[in-house]
């Protein structure tokens, strides 16, 4: 397979093209603009639709229209843009329209800055806008993984008829790494639900309004059932040097790359550290953490936020082991020595 040196944003765009994306709607924002730019260049020539919307609000609603009409469709943005897309995300979830959203997170709140951050974790994993509803959230740590997860994202979106978010941080979009792409696969797609206007069979409806509370409760229970199924079938994570670990570092995305170096350095100093890296942030790898809690003396969660995923780790661990947090904010990336220091401290505290 040919390997190419690509920027993360471009690798995601190319992966989406190979996954058969038919339409892209978006609005420029740093640090993800290479993605719409790539689409603008490549998509029309490959038989798809590129449109720069007048806002993120419009973009996500175009996604809703195209997705509802049965197209493989995506958008991409960064933090303030996702805030504007929350309205549409809620409708997409409610009407069960599949689509892929890329969020290359930048420092916030507000306009913040364009430096890489992980501070949109809550926004991504807790709820897709108002009402009870979830996104499936995938968190790549390398550019190769970003490409692979993009292809997976389209399949998951259609399997669950739910929006899927690729949550990366700004650096993942900007840095370059070698990447290779699998050959395109022709997929059987079930469009029996889509408003294709084909005029055959009963009329179809893409909708999220249920005035009767009992009916809406049923609909919500149906959504919950989907998420429960995803929790059983789609949980993904990576365990690194965890076999004999006595201390687990938990991190995702870019922070996990830093944590991995820190684990290696700690090991060199004789500390039995390991890394647990969630790849799906929703559904969260609860069982992996619960199991690790039987083995390790403590967890250290490293994030580029004020501490968001740490809540999921605590919920998973359920008090079986102490969970410590180390985070940098505002677009600052933690360094391996900083994390090693945290590991050393924690190891000293929990040593038998």
């Amino acid at each position: 397979m040919e390997r190419m040196l690509m920027k993360g944003n471009e690798a995601i765009a190319e992966a989406a093209l190979r996954a058969g994306v038919q339409a892209y709607f978006g609005y420029p924002i740093t640090p993800q603009s290479e993605l719409p730019e790539y689409m603008a260049r490549e998509l029309p020539g490959r038989g798809g639709v590129f449109l720069q919307a007048e806002s993120e609000v419009a973009a996500i609603n175009m996604v809703y229209g195209a997705g509802g009409a049965g197209a493989r469709v995506m958008t991409s943005t960064s933090s303030p843009g996702v805030s504007l897309m929350q309205e549409g995300l809620s409708y997409l979830v409610g009407a069960e329209v599949p689509c892929v959203i890329v969020n290359m997170v930048r420092g916030g709140p507000g306009l913040g800055n364009i430096a890489p951050a992980q501070s949109d974790y809550f926004q991504a994993t807790r709820s897709a806008g108002h009402g009870d509803g979830r996104l499936i959230v995938l968190a790549p740590s390398t550019i190769q993984e970003a490409a692979d997860l993009t292809i997976l994202a389209f399949d998951l979106a259609e399997r669950y008829r739910n929006p899927v978010m690729i949550l990366g941080d700004g650096i993942l979009g900007q840095m370059m790494e070698p990447v290779s792409f699998p050959p395109p696969v022709q997929r059987q797609r079930d469009l029996s639900w889509a408003t294709t206007g084909a005029g055959e069979g009963p009329r179809r409806l893409i909708n999220s309004i249920y005035l009767d509370p009992d009916e809406l409760e049923q609909h919500n229970l149906h959504l919950l059932e989907k998420y429960r199924r995803a929790q059983q079938e789609e949980v993904r994570w990576e365990a690194y040097r965890m076999e004999d670990a006595r201390l687990a570092v938990a991190a995702y995305g870019l922070a996990a790359r830093v944590a991995r170096s820190a684990v290696d350095r700690a090991r060199a100093q004789g500390i039995a550290a390991g890394l647990l890296r969630p790849v799906t942030l929703f559904p969260f790898p609860v069982a992996a953490f619960r199991q690790a809690a039987e083995q390790v003396r403590a967890f250290l969660v490293v994030e580029m936020s004020a501490g968001q995923m740490v809540e999921d780790v605590r919920l998973a661990v359920e008090g079986r082991a102490p969970v410590r947090f180390y985070g940098r904010l505002g677009g600052v990336v933690p360094t391996p020595p900083e994390v090693v220091q945290q590991i050393e401290q924690l190891a000293a505290e929990v040593a038998p």
């Binding site: 038919q22 339409a23 709607f25 639709v49 449109l51 919307a53 007048e54 806002s55 609000v57 419009a58 973009a59 609603n61 175009m62 996604v63 809703y64 229209g65 195209a66 997705g67 509802g68 009409a69 049965g70 197209a71 469709v73 309205e87 549409g88 409708y91 009407a95 408003t195 294709t196 206007g197 084909a198 005029g199 055959e200 009329r203 179809r204 409806l205 893409i206 909708n207 999220s208 309004i209």
Partner: protein, 260 residues
Amino acid sequence: MKQVTARPKVLLDVPMHYCPGCTHGVAHRLVAEAIDELGIRGRTIGVASVGCSVFMYNYFDLDFQQAAHGRAPAVATGIKRVLPDRIVFTYQGDGDLAAIGTAEIVHAANRGENITVIFINNAVYGMTGGQMAPTTLLGMRTTTTPFGRDARQAGYPIRVVELLNTLRGPAYLARVALAGPGNIHRAKKAIRRAFQTQVEGKGFSLVEVLSTCPVTWGLPPVEAVRWLEEHMLPEFPLGEFRTPEPREAVLMPLGGGKEG
């Protein structure tokens, strides 16, 4: 006896939820007749918006997408771009189109999206109980302009067709009124022409339909029609403002005023 009219095929035989005397029902019928007459029933997708017409998909034998408040033009854009051979239309109130959805309609029109927009201007928010709309007339009392709309505080009624007519994107722009048989007949022609514009691939079409909301206006249906004629027609002149050929803006009066 000779049958002069029948239920349009695309309109389902179910009771509508609109208040008695509300002109949403008339507008639905005109849309349905246009679809039937153009023979596009088998390839049309509707986009319902937020407002009293939110459930309109229950009345049409068509695929429909329900859009968020104001976003119907963006949703229609998404559908039309991936299914360019389908006929895609939105049906939006004045709150939906001219307040929360101003950006979406302006940009869809400016792109010349090959979609059709049916814009119901009843000068109020009907569904939420009669609050001020962007099209509420000066001096008009609504639940949020209890002393009458005052331009210094709440600005002026927005003339959507004139606003969109400043853009180069639209192909067909018209304003009609559901007041009396003559006007309704002209409304029907305009709506049909708007769909025809899309069928011929000529680009964005919009028909503003002056309508009544007897319930929140606090008037019996017949008086509401009279009120529309007396108060709305001077503010919102009728006519075809833009037709596909020639491209120049031409004001060809469709004829307004009272029916004799």
